[in-house]
Symmetry: C2
Subunit: 608 residues, 2 copies
């Protein structure tokens, strides 16, 4: 039943051979992996204006030089990540780069902050998409948490179906969004050039503004840089591309950078020329679109695709998180299960872990995840800075042909990213301090897990030539609750193994009961030794464990092995289990972690 | 660690012999078992006035004759349940009476509605107590669900500590509440007799009222009868009394009836004489107390003890529910685990089940459980009616000395209870209809469970002489994931049992891997047969299950037994389990319900 539901939801299992068919073409990869970056143009320019508005609307002209700064950083990041792609074609992005060039801990800081960041991406983007929906249909307002969770589930299912299928579906909204903004820019520019827009709505470039300082400009710049979140995603997901992976990934990266630049500049320019001021009730993009088209069909098309791409930004997280988790798991920093491909060849454990974590965040913050945005931006610029610095050191160390140009690219990237990161910490410390707590904890956990895996590996390895205890004989203990066919079945099995000794153990609550049982037993199983234990406290577990301890202690002296054989009847229907078997489950749970005994469950299947 | 916490919370385990010391004296039993009934005088009279107020305040004088009606019903119920106590001294109350005299299904209806009713009692009384608290301290308003849940947990812990301990603590508030109301009545009467209360605040008895009819009076009467909920609790909990149980229980019942009558009449009379009208913002008891004392210390004492007893009404549920569950479980209508006494000799499974169910109700209704009150009242009057009718038939059938008087008592009780029940259904159908759905479902579930237990009993019984399959030999299958000490350990154990055949099974994901593994195996374990299975879909479970099926099918033809031996390493710390062992858990879960094979877990304890 369950597997039928699963098949309907995510499709038939795919053979391992079919992996090649699950690779992404450039157009699909661009859609899936750039939705996060592209969606951020919907709020990045607005963030700049919000900071400038704290001084005066005259200061809005500064958005133009700030946009130039963002473009420079974007160019540095794109060129730099292009170099990362060719240098580390197996993916892993900032994590691998930092680990190889800066050392283990910087690598873990980069990897850890990206892991957390993708969780934040999903929570924040889905919540903001839900907000767009509920502000259009206020009657849904009470259900925003449920709606957001359902959206995460839908995106999760799409990703569990596999990359190509989700990409096919999710590519449309991304390209429609790009198309919508291009139409907006075209018409907007036409209006400006034909003089339809009054030129006195904006202050001229260079107008002096009282009270503006470097700190404020840097803060505005850092806010604008939140539009650059997501540009690292491609470098994490290189193995998802069609062959040759690095070449295709690099081309996709350049295309994304170009698109991002055009969209960012377009919005900043139109906002500046129209003299748009940020409002609490209407987004900057909405204002631009409304002034250009009025509230007609095109306006709603732009608004609709914008809301959609905000939700789909989550999908970038779903593509990049599992790949990053694979890299961390291969290095043993997180549980091995993240390296296992699911039915549809995706790393389903990573996908599900991301979904669960982001749903918990959404529920924990009751769908109001805006306060997480600064955390999310700083969480991106930490790995940016580390990756660039790592590449910079790599070029110094390796000095390949043309290394100076590469070095300069990465140096510029590192300096700007580092500055932005510091700006986030200085200007928004009250919001981003949790990073300073959870990142070290995360790194510590990574180390603990790795240490554990290494220890386990050593103890299991045959290279470790320690001799195992030889087994000289077997003692079988059968806890019995009565004289029934279930017990008979277990005793028959025990006898068939011809151990050195079989001991049936009965825990009695009353003295009289004990005697009655012993007499009956003698008649029923004269050849099986019965031990009865008196329980003064009505616990079956405690007397039994004490007895097993004693037996095991004596047995181990002469290298005998002890097996506890638990008779268990299996009802035909699952729900019936709650009516039985509590004690046998408890016995098993107690034994498995504490005692060095083999635990056998001898099933007796009920026929009705 | 866990058991240390448990010991602090609920105390050291008690020996079964100490059961006698856990019995209740009459004063303690009165406190524990009557808190539900006594607390209902805090809202019963108010319910009557609310119905009468729909006509006119002049109609308030009808509360006096209605109170007389309630007293008659109370007397009939008390006398009748006194007879139940002597006729069925082992407890079980309405359930046992109805089952013995009316048949299985009426018994189950009575038992089922009481079980549900005690859950409602706990949820409703704790929520209303929490409301009293949060209206005194409005800053706590947002936490009302958490506070209510914590209160349930505290009461649960007290009950898990055992009856005597909880009774010792909980007796004070109950007697203080009685004292508080006695002071109120004394001072109130004094004021009236000395003429301090103007006599023109109330309409004289017999004043004609326009628009009042029989239906409305019956509705008011039914509402007033909600003050009688809880009088059945003693009859369910007879075995908790000191010896002689029935005599002590009967005396306690009479005492409770007397107290209840005095408190009910006192409040009704003072409310009538003062001319108190029900208000949304202030309870009737609060109005009476305020008019009598003003807002001084005595007023707050009365209010405080009233709030406290509303919460403690829950405790009656905790005393009666587990006893009723024991009776149902002994008759196999619910899971056997309800008959097991916990560490402190209470029926802890019943206590915990009640706590969980009521917490779920509180959370589900977000602490607003007022809408459940009618459900709860009707749920009490169904067993009242059934029990009285059952007793009536019993007297007709048995005709013991003095049976006519007994018969009349029960007949009157049955008629009035039945009328009240019908009134609830007629006047509050929109609120009580769920009873008509969940009671039949509950009865059906009871039957299903009993049928299952009977079937299981038959199949397990040795009286059923069906021969078990003889075991001619043993085949052991060891799923292996690699060549490690864990596998070696399992193989050593398997060999020590000297079965007819040992088969190691390896699931390979790649063709090459398969060959490499086979070659290495030959060198390592030349005497153990290795079967490698190719998994095209990366599932370990499916190929393994198919293989086990084949082996089992062949083995069963020649009566060979199949054992699947799962190598498992046990990490030193529990959290580390999430990093391993997922596959072995999965294999076990798949095998246990579906296949007729013995499952052995061979532990390999890691030293670090």
């Amino acid at each position: 039943m369950l597997s039928a539901v699963k098949r309907v939801l995510i499709g038939r299992p795919l053979k391992s051979k079919e992996l090649g068919e699950q690779r992404l073409s450039k157009t699909k990869a661009l859609a899936v992996l750039s939705s996060d970056a592209l969606s951020s143009v919907a709020y990045g320019p607005e963030q700049v204006l919000i900071v400038l508005a704290t001084v005066s609307t005259i200061a809005f002209w500064y958005s133009i030089p700030i946009a130039v700064g963002v473009l420079i950083l974007l160019a540095a990041l794109i060129l730099s990540y292009r170099q990362v792609i060719f240098a580390y074609p197996h993916g892993g992005g900032a994590y691998v780069v930092s680990k190889e060039n800066l050392g283990e801990n910087p690598g873990l800081v980069a990897g850890g902050s990206l892991l957390v960041d993708y969780i934040l991406t999903v929570a924040v983007s889905v919540s903001s998409g839900t907000d767009a929906l509920t502000s259009a249909f206020p009657s849904l307002l009470h259900y925003n948490v449920i709606i957001a969770c359902c959206l995460v589930v839908v995106i999760t299912l799409l990703n569990l179906r596999g990359l190509t299928e989700s990409a096919t579906i999710l590519a449309y909204p991304v390209y429609l969004f790009v198309l919508a903004l291009f139409i907006l820019f075209g018409v907007g520019l036409y209006h400006i050039l034909t003089g339809h827009v009054p030129a006195n709505h904006h202050s001229a470039l260079g107008t002096p503004v009282a009270g503006i300082g470097l700190f404020l400009l840097l803060k505005a710049f850092a806010s604008g840089c939140s539009a650059l979140t997501g540009v690292e995603a491609i470098s994490n997901a290189i193995p998802n591309f069609k062959k040759p992976e690095p070449v295709n990934a690099a081309k996709t990266l350049i295309a994304m950078g170009g698109l991002l630049a055009v969209l960012f500049v377009g919005i900043v320019y139109l906002a500046y020329y129209y003299g748009v001021a940020p409002k609490a009730t209407e987004t900057v993009v909405s204002q631009i679109a409304r002034e250009t088209f009025g509230r007609n069909f095109v306006y709603f098309f732009i608004q609709g695709t914008t809301a959609l791409i905000l939700v789909l930004a989550a999908n970038t997280g779903f593509s990049a998180f599992p790949m990053l988790a694979v890299n961390l798991a291969k290095d043993k920093y997180i549980a091995r299960m993240f390296t296992i491909r699911g039915d549809r060849l995706g790393y389903s454990n990573g996908i599900i872990a991301l979904a669960v974590a982001s749903i918990l965040l959404i529920i924990g913050f009751k769908g109001k995840t805006e306060s997480l945005i600064p955390l999310y931006a700083v969480g991106v610029f930490i790995p940016f800075t580390l990756a660039q610095t790592g590449m910079f050191l790599k070029w110094i160390r390796e000095k390949p042909p043309g290394w100076v140009a590469k070095l300069i690219t990465n140096l510029i990237g590192a300096i700007i990213s580092g500055t932005v990161m510091m700006m986030f910490f200085i200007t928004k410390f009250t919001q981003v301090w949790p990073v300073l707590i959870f990142l070290p904890i995360l790194v510590l956990v990574f180390h603990r897990i790795k240490r554990h895996y290494i220890k386990v590996g050593k103890q299991l390895s045959l290279a470790n030539c320690e001799q195992l205890k030889p087994i000289q004989g077997n003692i079988i203990i059968v806890p019995v609750a009565g004289m029934t066919h279930v017990v008979e079945n277990s005793l028959n099995y025990a006898k068939s193994l011809r151990p050195d000794q079989i001991i049936a153990v009965y825990v009695a609550f009353e003295r009289e009961d004990e005697k009655v049982f012993e007499e009956k037993w003698k008649k029923w199983q004269p050849d099986v030794r019965l031990v009865t234990l008196q329980s003064y406290y009505r616990s079956i577990i405690h007397p039994l464990m004490k007895f097993i301890d004693t037996v095991e202690h004596k047995a181990s002296e002469s290298n005998y092995n002890v097996t506890v054989m638990i008779p268990q009847f299996i009802p035909r229907k699952r729900w019936q289990n709650i009516l039985h078997n509590q004690t046998s489950l408890l016995i098993r749970a107690f034994l498995i972690s504490r005692k060095n005994v083999v635990i056998s469950t001898v099933p007796f299947h009920l026929r009705e």
